[in-house]
């Protein structure tokens, strides 16, 4: 079905007519009634196993009243401020502001990179920060990998974690069974994951966007279920343990003769390995970024973006969309696989638990929030999300709720993500960012 253009932002201003007090009260009461209906059974009542093992119902009307009250007040304020129309929170940056932001944006990247390089120096004695940094960088790399598929080629992949799993299990199996070193397995894992990407991509190329999404989801689940049930090979739910740790290009991080510390005349410290892992994942992520930026300038990268904008037009111009999609899948999968083998060597232990759909959704959320197609946006989104999770650690059970909410909210208010403008790769006289409202994603 053909969709119209997104309404131009200034229309929002005329629609935000406020309601008079009485009408606002009526709206709020209605909203509170709906909330009462929604929350009565699921929040107002709680089921728990009683002493006999049978389920017992206990009431929790205070929480229910709180929720309904919050909805009432929220709906009242909304009706007073915005009326019935959409909440007009800056749908896009004003046009005149865009160049200024773009200029500032040029310094964000180098600043972040400089900070990342300094983290191990600044926080050398803070193991927690280093571990968090490694985690964030892993997701930055995964986000950049998925960005090739979703952001550049416009193919929604809900099973990205499958390639991450392929990479992790490739390294774990090759190193524990054949004793291959990390540096040989790293490219091998990438190649194997890319191979799986092509294998999946080949049959599903004919599918349109949302069918493709569901098939990739099914594929991700199949991989996980096979890993879970093929006990002889993968150890099933117990996973694979004692995966070899990486060495400094052949020098293991051990105390005593022949170790990294001895070779460089340093005192042995377990932090060396953590710092090395930090720089390793930073380098891998930067390679991903660099390859993506270079690819965007190649004909294949241009074809990806053209396909995202309009697949039919793309075909009409003689671009082979089959190859274009396959390369996007393979590239994205390869970086996922490399990140996976890094994950395996860092953890030393992997199990199917790490490769559930929630991980795919998290990586997708990072790409979506960052602004599909924007490299710096993805990095910032990964930092904000994972950093945010750490800040609100006590609220651990709410974190998935928050990011589900963030996905919906971003789609409603900034459907192009936080960094929404697009940098043209070809321009005539001056380089101008394309503002969000003028960018329409194709129907491919």
């Amino acid at each position: 079905m053909r969709r119209g253009k997104t309404p131009v932002p200034n229309a929002a201003a005329s629609r935000t007519r406020t309601l008079p007090l009485a009408a606002a009260l009526r709206e709020a009461t209605l909203a509170a009634l709906v909330a009462f209906g929604l929350f009565f059974f699921l929040i107002g009542l709680h089921t728990d196993q009683g002493p006999t093992g049978a389920l017992m119902v206990t009431t929790r009307f205070d929480s229910l009243a709180l929720m309904v009250g919050v909805v009432f007040v929220g709906a009242f304020i909304r009706a007073l401020l915005f009326g019935r129309g959409p909440i007009g929170l800056g749908r896009a940056l004003p046009i005149w502001l865009a160049p200024a932001v773009a200029k500032a944006g040029r310094y964000v990247g180098p600043a972040l990179l400089g900070f990342a390089l300094l983290v191990p120096v600044l926080f050398y004695h803070n193991r927690y920060v280093l571990d968090l940094g490694i985690l964030v960088l892993t997701y930055v790399m995964l986000g950049w990998g998925l960005n090739i598929v979703v952001g550049l080629a416009g193919l929604l992949d809900l099973g990205y974690v499958a390639f991450y799993a392929v990479g992790a299990y490739s390294y774990a199996l090759l190193s524990t069974h054949f004793g291959l070193s990390f540096w040989i397995c790293l490219p091998l894992a990438g190649i194997l994951a890319a191979f799986w990407g092509v294998l999946l991509g080949f049959p599903v190329l004919r599918l349109r966007g949302d069918y493709l999404a569901i098939v990739t989801l099914a594929f991700g689940e199949i991989i996980r279920l096979v890993l879970l049930n093929w006990q002889d090979l993968t150890g099933g739910p117990n996973g694979i343990t004692s995966i070899p740790r990486p060495s400094f290009f052949g020098l293991p991080f051990v105390d005593g003769e022949g170790g990294f510390a001895a070779a460089f005349g340093l005192e042995f410290s377990p932090t060396h390995r953590v710092v090395f892992l930090f720089y390793l994942i930073l380098a891998l992520a930067l390679i991903t970024n660099w390859v993506t930026i270079r690819m965007r300038r190649l004909p294949i990268g241009r074809a990806w973006e053209a396909m995202r904008e309009d697949e039919i037009a793309c075909r009409s111009l003689g671009i082979n969309t089959t190859n274009t999609k396959l390369t996007a899948f393979a590239m994205g999968a390869m970086f996922g696989g490399i990140a996976g083998s890094f994950f395996a060597t860092r953890q030393g232990f992997i199990s199917p638990e790490s490769f559930v759909f929630g991980e795919s959704a998290l990586i997708l959320a990072i790409v979506v929030l960052g602004g599909m197609g924007s490299q710096i946006g993805v990095a910032v989104a990964a930092l904000v999300m994972l950093g945010g999770f750490e800040l609100f650690r006590e609220l651990d059970q709410y974190r998935m709720l928050v990011f589900g909410g963030a996905m919906v909210a971003i789609m409603i208010w900034r459907p192009r993500g936080l960094v929404a403008s697009r940098e043209p790769s070809l321009y005539l006289a001056e380089r101008r960012a394309v503002p969000q409202a003028l960018v329409e994603q194709g129907r491919g």
């Binding site: 279920l225 059970q397 194709g442």
Partner: protein, 304 residues
């Protein structure tokens, strides 16, 4: 042979549940062309509301099973329909004119919200319910193997049939059904001809959610457990059913549901129970590759 008959009965029961969920997918896809990813979780919410409503009814002294079941059915259908309405109103309606993947991403977000909301509100543990409806009929018995048709299975299949009949009547004979069919053919033209498309789409979600909640109740009766995660797997399988039957086609959704139920049951019975989900997901991939329009679907014409 007896074993085969028993599996056939089980498969049809399971297939009825999938069919009820699949209708929600197929209706929404037919009208606004989006995959309502949160639909499986609406089914889960329906199951939870039914469970809690039943326990609450027992707590206040309604212990007659038929009466309790009837009240639970009404409550769960009504409240789950409210969930369907709310989800559409908040997460999908503002995106109706956005780009194609936006509603899908929003729906994934909604699915995550619903799952975690139920997990936080009611706990992550599996919720067991003692069997409410017991007994059944022995259809065949040979040597030491008996073919059983339990009362629960009869309830599941009969309820599905009644709802399907009612729903087909609604689509074919009522004003709302006509509006729905008009919207399915051409949303813009329907709105030009005076069909209130916002209302029609809302009601489509409401009806889909109500049917999914019935599926939730049936699941609860049949398996006796619910947990916050059942919506994801059941949702993907029901979507597979909708695609297999031909997305947009109502009889197709039911047919697809039955086929998926049978495939899953027979796979577990004759091959391996661990890989039953793999079998269902593989069917999805194979169908989309070789039969993208499904069994009863119409080919979609791509227009520029």
């Amino acid at each position: 042979m007896e074993y085969f008959f028993q599996q056939l009965i089980n498969g049809v029961t399971l297939g009825s549940i999938y069919g009820l969920i699949a209708i929600g997918y197929t209706m929404v896809y037919g009208i606004i062309g989006m995959i309502n990813f949160a639909h499986g979780d609406i089914f889960m919410v329906g199951g939870f509301i039914a469970l809690i409503a039943f326990l609450a009814l027992v707590a206040i002294g309604v212990t007659a099973v038929p009466l309790a079941l009837f009240l639970v059915l009404l409550l769960a259908m009504g409240l789950t329909a409210l969930y369907g309405w709310t989800v559409e109103r908040f997460a999908y309606r503002p995106l109706r004119h956005s780009y194609r993947l936006a509603p899908l991403i929003s729906a994934i977000g909604m699915s995550i919200i619903l799952q975690n909301y139920v997990q936080i509100a009611q706990g992550a543990r599996v919720k067991p319910l003692p069997p409410l409806v017991e007994g059944g009929y022995t259809l065949l018995s040979k040597d030491d193997f008996v073919v059983q048709l339990s009362n629960v299975q009869i309830i599941v299949v009969v309820t599905t049939l009644i709802l399907l009949a009612g729903f087909s009547w609604l689509v074919a004979r009522t004003r709302l059904g006509r509006d729905m069919r008009a919207c399915e053919q051409d949303l813009k033209m329907a709105s030009l001809l005076g069909v209130d498309i916002d209302r029609t789409i809302s009601l489509t979600f409401v009806i889909g959610a109500a049917l999914a909640s019935v599926a939730g109740i049936m699941y609860l009766l049949y398996y006796g457990v619910v947990d916050f995660y059942i919506g994801f797997v059941a949702g993907v399988k029901a979507f597979t059913a909708a695609v297999l039957g031909g997305i947009g086609s109502l009889p197709g959704a039911v047919l697809g549901g039955l086929l998926i139920g049978l495939i899953e049951t027979f796979w577990s019975a004759y091959f391996s129970i661990e890989y039953k989900d793999v079998a269902a997901f593989s069917v999805l991939i194979v169908v989309l590759i070789f039969l993208p329009t499904g069994i009863l679907g119409r080919p979609e014409v791509e227009k520029v």
